[in-house]
Symmetry: D2
Subunit: 457 residues, 4 copies
Amino acid sequence: MTAGMYSSFITSHWFSAEAKLIWSDTATLQAWLDVEAALAAAQAQLGLVPVEAAETIALKAQAGLFDTQKLAEEIAFAQHPLVPVLHQFEALCGDAAAAFVHLGATTQNIFDTAVALQMRRTHRLIEDDVRKAVMALCTLADAHKNTLMAGRTHGQHALPMTFGFKVAGWLDELDRDFERLEARLATSFPACMGGAIGTFAAMGDKGREVETTMAQGLGLLPAGLPARASYDRANDYFTALALLAGTAQKIAEDVVFMQRTEIGETSEAFHMGKVGSSTMAQKRNPSTALLLVSLARMLRGRLPMALESMIRMDEGDSSATNVVDTLAPELAILAASVAQTLARLCEGLVVDPQAMRCNVDRTRGLINSEAAMMRLVPALGRPAAHRLLYEAAQQAQTDGTHLLAAVESHPLAQGRNLTGTLADALDPGSYVGQSATIAAETAQRLIRKWQRVPSCG
Amino acid sequence: MTAGMYSSFITSHWFSAEAKLIWSDTATLQAWLDVEAALAAAQAQLGLVPVEAAETIALKAQAGLFDTQKLAEEIAFAQHPLVPVLHQFEALCGDAAAAFVHLGATTQNIFDTAVALQMRRTHRLIEDDVRKAVMALCTLADAHKNTLMAGRTHGQHALPMTFGFKVAGWLDELDRDFERLEARLATSFPACMGGAIGTFAAMGDKGREVETTMAQGLGLLPAGLPARASYDRANDYFTALALLAGTAQKIAEDVVFMQRTEIGETSEAFHMGKVGSSTMAQKRNPSTALLLVSLARMLRGRLPMALESMIRMDEGDSSATNVVDTLAPELAILAASVAQTLARLCEGLVVDPQAMRCNVDRTRGLINSEAAMMRLVPALGRPAAHRLLYEAAQQAQTDGTHLLAAVESHPLAQGRNLTGTLADALDPGSYVGQSATIAAETAQRLIRKWQRVPSCG
Amino acid sequence: MTAGMYSSFITSHWFSAEAKLIWSDTATLQAWLDVEAALAAAQAQLGLVPVEAAETIALKAQAGLFDTQKLAEEIAFAQHPLVPVLHQFEALCGDAAAAFVHLGATTQNIFDTAVALQMRRTHRLIEDDVRKAVMALCTLADAHKNTLMAGRTHGQHALPMTFGFKVAGWLDELDRDFERLEARLATSFPACMGGAIGTFAAMGDKGREVETTMAQGLGLLPAGLPARASYDRANDYFTALALLAGTAQKIAEDVVFMQRTEIGETSEAFHMGKVGSSTMAQKRNPSTALLLVSLARMLRGRLPMALESMIRMDEGDSSATNVVDTLAPELAILAASVAQTLARLCEGLVVDPQAMRCNVDRTRGLINSEAAMMRLVPALGRPAAHRLLYEAAQQAQTDGTHLLAAVESHPLAQGRNLTGTLADALDPGSYVGQSATIAAETAQRLIRKWQRVPSCG
Amino acid sequence: MTAGMYSSFITSHWFSAEAKLIWSDTATLQAWLDVEAALAAAQAQLGLVPVEAAETIALKAQAGLFDTQKLAEEIAFAQHPLVPVLHQFEALCGDAAAAFVHLGATTQNIFDTAVALQMRRTHRLIEDDVRKAVMALCTLADAHKNTLMAGRTHGQHALPMTFGFKVAGWLDELDRDFERLEARLATSFPACMGGAIGTFAAMGDKGREVETTMAQGLGLLPAGLPARASYDRANDYFTALALLAGTAQKIAEDVVFMQRTEIGETSEAFHMGKVGSSTMAQKRNPSTALLLVSLARMLRGRLPMALESMIRMDEGDSSATNVVDTLAPELAILAASVAQTLARLCEGLVVDPQAMRCNVDRTRGLINSEAAMMRLVPALGRPAAHRLLYEAAQQAQTDGTHLLAAVESHPLAQGRNLTGTLADALDPGSYVGQSATIAAETAQRLIRKWQRVPSCG
């Protein structure tokens, strides 16, 4: 019997398998044990614990040695998530070492530091998939730096641009998103070892040194002031995940639109056997993009719960930590799944330059009305130029003529030869501004940057 | 100096002027005074207060008699919103009546009951505008019950349908939204008069009778158990407002899409002088629909704050009531503005049946692939029929041929004369199901219903 | 390997086991098959499908006959959740019946109707646990209708009341919460069978009759206009779940406060072996109440995602339905868990009347200052009475004297014998208003009501 | 007639008057004009615009010269917020300069860059008030570094600590909050001047240089790739505001609790004339803290709307920008009000060390049970020590004896002289760990840091 979308046979393939492994029960238990071992090692180094005890603790800190079925029962009975684990761990370590297990720590110290380890591994998954997406988008931006398409605002054609320019905008935002995550990872998830209320009371004067030493052993920063009622640090990272989700959703919604039956400018990778509908044989849905929208909403929609959990009574408050103890894994799995799905979407995107061009031409010159106005300003002044263009453009839309014809028949145009003035101004390709330059520069900059970044951890 | 979107010269026209009047400072003060007067009248009726005192109180319960500038200063000093009002009110009433002002009431009793009065007036505004929207949509549904257009799912053409059917779907949902509001209005906003903690301690044995009598006087239900820490009732109405906003946004986003430059199936009312852009003269943005989306988000986005404010310490908690004291007016103004903008959108919507038909035909038969499959099932069985259609439809999309041609050239079709079988199955008009019936029935049902409802209050 | 809080060994005991069973993969598959069988039966009844085919379909509609491992793989490949199920189902039914499987239906019809069946079962779980909570609270309200305690507002003592009155306030709200759920269940989760876009195109003229007949077979209402892009109905129920969560959280936070070390007025059920901390042996945390707060936040925090998913493109939109396909089970499991935890909390609550009385007396008369003022109004008039009490009360707080002493030493009291006037007004027990009546009445009313309601479904 | 909480006489005093000035209509119009002037100046510097025209534009860029009443009417008619402003501006500038007004810009360029200017000013307000709060808290942390109080977790006494340590935890978090805001201000609010879709089409090859030059003139960073559909940057700052609100709410809720009638450890500044209730004369509510909770919720609760507005159609989407055009001022005003109210709360906080000590002693030794266990581990081993303490502590709570007595009567203690071993371990003052050190260090570190930071802008 399985409940929950991550493991259901209906939806489990939506979610990153690697991320689910990182946050599985076994891996979580192992992360707890890794922290217990690092704590004992730090205490041994500082003379608080016998070296042999720390060695025994390290040796027995293996999830595989535990009876997890029994753990589940004991946890439900004790209504405490860690004490039963410690009992089994002490038994595994034997009398001599058992007394030095979990010395001076509180449950939340272990949990929070374990989350730091797991989140770091998830971060690398995210990085790998963001890199794939960035690389695929850089290729598209460069290849299509001159591919003409309609720039649209408020659902209407605005100005011509190139597809490469659009992709550059996605890239610029996506790169910033990951920059934020990278910059915040270490400070958002420090090692915490202040004991029950953060005063290090159970470790005497060496408490802060234990935290620092343990942190070094785990490759983390020490919390310094490990107030258990503080959660701004983790939330700083989680808000950046929400921004990543926002960017992914924006890209995905653009793709859904561009694949609309009537638009047809891009389409998702398709393989025979992919099914769009149980009855409509023709359907080629942008299902990856639509799934990406869904995953982004699931991630972004969970952020307020994380933010609310900053508000904690006094020195510790399980009504808040219960929420984030279960939410942090969800945010991590969802973020990795967003990145993975985004990479798949970007790598499979098929572009149809002909359809893009065809759409640009549908409005018979209107998309270049700003260009026309800029050209008429020297001759007519801005107010008259704007009035002429506004009236001619509305006329052209009402009766379906070409903008040029509508301009020519406008009273203000009588007696002037505007056709020559406007001829090339109405060529869409002439009014894409810095589209190509921005597309090419962005692609080159990000290829260089992302090739350099080594994946580790 | 003005701050805040409701009164800013940039955005004040987005919001219902009538709703802003209902929730203005003056009207709010008047609503408080109306409640104080009704309280005194009820107490006089039950012999707790001299009749003359209640009459004086009723006479002086006029916002225009108050010095609101002085009130603002006194409120800031006392850090209490009502006590300064009572002081001025007592002075207006004179010594004899002053002792009977606000007898046995607590501030929140006055505020909550005043909100009930203001919300009832806002509800009638909403009703009037929902009626306008319903009527306009009924006209469209009936007029276009046979107007063919593409039904779309997941951003792709699915099956043909009629525009009237689409509008019927909007109508059905919109009517349910208002039904909910209407059904909840009275129970969501009762009169409350239980005193400081809801025990009626300051009014002796007659407290509950005072509440009931006062409620009758105001045309409200009595709270019965006026626990100040309960807010489920008002939230019941507010959640229904969020559903109304959801429906409005769904309609608005459909309109934004149908007005897309490449789609052109509907468009918003336009008047010369409406400006889409400061530089692009051609722009005819669906600005009413886009504004409606924005207003709906502003309303829906505020709901979690109302829900959170149900969680109140003990018998009363200003950390929660401060939020809803300011949020309830915002929700009311936003809801009235959503309804008003929806009415404007629906009343001005221009339909282009030719563009709808043109879009249906773009996929060269694919939109009827389900119809074709249903036709082939008797001959081929469902699995073979689905396989033939799936492969033919994918082929047709890849090479741009008509679905019929792709079917005919499929191996499974060889030696069978499928052309005859499929000929009329591929006519989009033949496969709209109950579109017309549903459109007509829905329009008739709702016209009857909404014509009947008298507007009052 | 397990991920997800519902099945993790650390947290699975937080969640209703029965609810998880209802929403397990197996039960969900079974619900789909139940809908397919009901569809075929309805179609047989209306002559659209051979009776034998419908019988075969009913016979094979058993989740146990399916290869779910293979399903998971096929779903991931097809990127479609139902088509692989249909393939196995058709194979199980054999050629003759296979052609009549899923006739005229679309995937979402099956899913939504299955959710209706599962939600109805969940609703009965919720009802059972709300009944337990109501019954326990009725017992408390009646038993403690005269148990004096401090009424508190804004974190400060306000007026005296009784514990029974407080519980009556909880009860009144909780009962309304369930009333809403009960009233909305049927309309929120109708049977839907309109096909791909809701036009019944694949079932000819009998489509609406099929939906109605199938709905009767399943004990549901028919959708009538089964627009797939409408989701206001389900959201109407979900918003009521959020209100239930709000009430549960309010009760839980009251209990957390009353169990505070310094307050000690109530405490949760405790058993030896329940652990509050891994190191602090004395800890008796209100862990059930804290967990209830967490669960309520998890439920309430998910509502905005459901509301947002009302906004659906055109006639169907998987970017929205993906979200609710996974969210509906989460909301259901969380709601059942909230109800279950609330029942456990209420049934185990231990009351300490002595501590309540002790807290009332801590402020040396101040809690009755309103009573004192009401008594002085006849003698002094309201303004002077308020001024005297305000200044005396502030004085008493500053120097720790009894309110009576502070009143007596106030200038306005000189020459009047106020001690006699105030003596019994300062007895907390004399100023609890309708506390006892409301407590007793509420308990009696709800016991009668909830005993009557039969549990079924 | 005024609507809206910022200007209502009931609530306007809740909000920062300075922030409201920054975001008033007049100041907003001025900020737009400042951007227009900076644009013209940059274009003049690069030879795109005559120097005299730019000078005229700068000269006329004064909000005081505009007819704002007329503007409001024209904006409502044109349904465009800027074009009417430009018309008045052009008229003010005269024909020669008018043609160079707004050259190559789009409305959103002006709005976004103006918001950058206004947000920078708001940021300095926030800084000033955070500084006040930090300074007040540093004074408290240092003064009370040794003031003993109960550390609490899950609503129960946990370990002893000092009040200075608690304040240090607040400080550490608050300082991080501002660090984030400071680090993000410049990158979150760049100058944008890419024109209608961000391609700089209307400014030819010099467009990017214009943006850079204009940005320098305004003291901002240039956007570089001014994609109008990107909003991650502003949201990066807004999420940090939500974290600040979270910290403020946490502090405020701690204060509300500590001022509880039964706790009395701290209290807010009080002045005679401050009113807690319209009828209960004794009330001294923690109204500043409660207001701070409310303001923090209003701010945090609005964040999801900002995040959702990242999702923008194509190259620009007013359904999203409408929301943030009105939300950014609200977030700014709320953030400044949160900071201002936090400063007032911290500066006025009154501490009662005697009440703190009294509360520590209420549990008769139990608060030191961890200390006792640590002391017994060497003698008994950890499992036996924990068992002895657990059973003794539970016993002590059940029958109200002192922990020491309960330990002594425990079977495991028989025959051992534990009284001597435990005597000083049960002195609360002996088990506060690094409380004093952390309090003093944090105060010193932050005083040094915050004294250094110069306020400017």
